[in-house]
């Protein structure tokens, strides 16, 4: 995750602190015997926890463009993940602190505070909200191995119940209700948009061609039925194939990076056989429909536009750079010079290589270097230095398998390249 605060982060922090700021004057002080500060801690963690839960809902809306102020959807998803888990931890601290605050009175009072008679409905609403959190978070604790992605996504809808119950709990107990109405409407509205409105706003495309690039890798060429989406190079979309003959993943949405230039009349997507759904897509029937939602991400979001760029793509991670190179070839203006290193195991796996070499020959602003690990081992400093002597001065973009990313980050850090000058969008479980 970036250490830089984005405009979206600042908005989130303000919204997060709003209910606390409104409630703080009535929470009293921290000074005093344990029951006083435990009560204070219990209330503050409760307020922050619910605010985080609701904001986790807000950032899950995945509206195209909404991710840009946060630095892309991958980063927004990390924020969502972080907000959700922190909220879960905070609400437990909240309950325990309030229970412990009653211990100086008596143990019975502590138990009765946490588990009062049923007539104290507001407390039980809080427990139901917590239970709902446990239900949909439990699979991520890996009790039963990695959860099945699509099933887990459906289970995640229980979060809407958790938000509703938590909100109800707070509205019954809070002094000022308006911040909760504000965050509650935003959070539940975002979920309603995601599940209700967004699926109907997807763009319909037809599969025009399925070009095989290598074994287990194809490029889908998609023709828009209507207006199609507008995107920038390096962005990605969620793709839902509707081909009835697919063996898996029909109607399911999965994220894929766009490999075409924004000016292209066709949407091109490079797909590697990595799972059931992407395996099935290798043989998708031409002229069937797919639904496309997006675009998302800001892969080529520049932070140092005055510098030249180093692009390093490995395996199917070459696709955003293919999009970038094609954009360049189509005449897009780019700030500075670009040098692309393509890491593949051998020439059979170096799909797109010829096209990229062609672009490099025709365009002075774009240089291309192929690297085969079967011949030379892992990419090392000497190879980079030989082909691109000023690579440490450039703004660097990485995309590839996690091991490659980690290796390159170590290598670059060893050469004194600050982390802020390295971009990489790693998306697992999006």
């Amino acid at each position: 995750m970036r250490r830089w605060l984005r405009p979206g982060d600042i908005a989130l922090i303000i919204l997060l602190l709003l209910p606390l700021a409104v409630a703080l004057p009535r929470l009293g002080g921290l000074a005093g015997p344990p029951e006083v500060w435990l009560t204070w801690v219990g209330r503050v963690t409760g307020i922050l926890g619910l605010a985080m839960m609701l904001l986790a809902g807000v950032v899950s809306c995945r509206a195209p463009g909404f991710d840009r102020p946060f630095g892309g959807l991958a980063r927004l998803w990390h924020l969502h993940h972080w907000l959700g888990f922190t909220a879960f931890i905070l609400v437990m601290v909240h309950a325990l602190a309030l229970g412990l605050a009653a211990v100086p009175a008596s143990l019975d009072a502590a138990v009765a505070t946490l588990f009062p008679p049923v007539s104290h409905g507001s407390i039980w609403l809080g427990w139901l909200a917590w239970l709902a959190l446990v239900v949909f978070l439990a699979p991520t604790f890996d009790f039963f191995g990695q959860p099945h992605y699509q099933r887990w996504k459906r289970l995640h809808l229980v979060s809407a119940a958790a938000l509703l119950l938590g909100l109800w709990h707070a509205l019954l107990l809070a002094g000022e209700a308006w911040p909760w109405w504000l965050l509650g409407i935003a959070g539940l509205g975002a979920i309603a948009w995601r599940k209700g409105v967004a699926p109907r706003r997807r763009h319909a495309y037809r599969v025009e061609a399925v070009d095989p690039l290598a074994r287990g890798v194809v490029e889908l060429v998609l023709r828009p039925e209507g207006g199609g989406i507008r995107y920038e190079a390096g962005q990605f979309v969620y793709l839902s194939p509707l081909d009835e003959s697919l063996s898996a993943g029909r109607g399911e949405e999965h994220p894929y990076t766009i490999a075409s230039a924004p000016s292209d009349s066709r949407l091109r997507i490079g797909i590697k056989d990595l799972g059931d759904a992407s395996h099935a897509l290798q043989t998708v029937t031409p002229e069937t429909r797919v639904l496309v939602e997006g675009p998302y991400g800001e892969f080529f979001g520049r932070r140092f536009p005055e510098r030249d760029m180093l692009w390093v793509g490995g395996g199917i991670g070459i696709t955003p750079f293919v999009g970038g190179a094609r954009d360049l070839a189509a005449g897009a203006s780019v700030d500075g010079h670009v040098h692309l290193f393509y890491l593949a195991s051998d020439s059979v796996r170096a799909y797109y290589r010829e096209e990229l070499e062609g672009i490099a020959e025709a365009h002075e602003a774009f240089a291309f270097t192929q690297h085969y690990s079967r011949e030379r081992g892992r990419l090392d400093e000497a190879f980079l230095r030989e082909h691109c002597p000023d690579y440490t001065e450039r703004e660097i973009f990485l995309c590839g398998p996690p091991a490659m990313n980690a290796h390159l980050r170590r290598l670059l850090a060893g050469q004194g390249v600050p982390a802020s000058r390295i971009h990489s969008e790693v998306f697992d479980f999006l």
Partner: protein, 282 residues
């Protein structure tokens, strides 16, 4: 360590803490119930009534007596609200923090710290709160009605009523003039003595004296009225005739002479209260 693992660890710790809290509470409360009310000191209503103020405040709640003197300054409301119930059976106040809303389980736990005894009648039998008595009314019907039906030779309340003497209890009365209610007093009468005297209303020509600030011109008059009430506190009922010469009870303050205070109006409100009879039984 990633977020999932931290959350999972906190989840386990949370559930374990809850279970510990519940089991420790369950195990320790079973001991306490054995050492129940029998072990507590018996306290009669008369003893209870001696501790009716801020200097020593005892209360009977659900048959148990608590010495909450040390807690009074910490109570979240004004002192008056909590002091009103000192020296008395206070179950009603306890069960109605706001009308119909009892105190929290946590407050109940705090109360336990101040437990000093159990409430008994003259024979040493446990006294239940009124609310509890009403609830058990049918079950114990016979025993209760035996107590209620005293012989005419020993029923003191009957004697006082027959002689036209005011009965013990809480009284309320008003004085009005020119279509305006000016004075409303409340007081308790116990063994012919005045206590807990307060103004429920005090106004003249649209000035509500009870709402005045200290820097208001008429504030001294409000202070003087309070002095009237304080002067009568603990006095026999007949002391209300001193109100005809209010300078006996109220000082001169800031040019407002005690002698010109309208003590007659207050006296009249007291007489109205007595005419109306007991407002609520002690």
């Amino acid at each position: 360590m990633n977020m999932n693992k931290i959350a999972y660890s906190v989840f386990i710790a949370f559930v374990a803490s809850l279970l510990t809290l519940i089991s420790v509470s369950a195990l320790s409360s079973s001991e306490r119930e054995e050492a129940d009310d029998e072990g507590l000191d018996p306290i009669t209503l008369d003893e209870l009534a001696e501790h009716d103020g801020a200097e020593s405040c005892w209360k009977a709640i659900h048959g148990r007596v608590y010495d909450i003197t040390d807690y009074v300054p910490d109570h979240p409301t004004d002192d008056e609200v909590i002091l009103e119930w000192c020296g008395r059976e206070a179950t009603e106040g306890w069960d109605n923090k706001r009308p119909g809303v009892p105190h929290s389980p946590r407050a109940e736990g705090m109360l336990d710290e101040y437990l000093i005894g159990r409430l008994v009648d003259e024979e040493g039998e446990p006294v239940e709160s009124e609310a509890a008595t009403e609830a058990n009314g049918n079950a114990n019907g016979e025993a209760d009605s035996d107590q209620a039906r005293l012989s005419p030779a020993e029923d003191e309340r009957l004697h006082r009523a027959l002689l036209g003497l005011p009965l013990d209890g809480r009284y309320r009365g008003v004085f009005g003039d020119g279509g305006e209610m000016q004075v409303n007093v409340q007081f308790d009468l116990r063994d012919g003595q005045l206590s807990n005297i307060s103004y429920r209303h005090l106004a003249y020509r649209d000035v509500d004296y009870r709402r005045l600030d200290e820097d208001d011109d008429l504030y001294p008059v409000w202070v003087q009225h309070q002095q009237l009430a304080e002067g009568l506190e603990g006095q026999p009922l007949t002391a209300i005739f001193a109100l005809h010469e209010p300078e006996r009870l109220a000082e001169d303050i800031d040019g407002y002479s005690g002698a010109t205070l309208r003590g007659n109006k207050v006296h009249s409100a007291f007489r109205d209260a007595l005419n109306r009879g007991v407002y609520s039984w002690p």
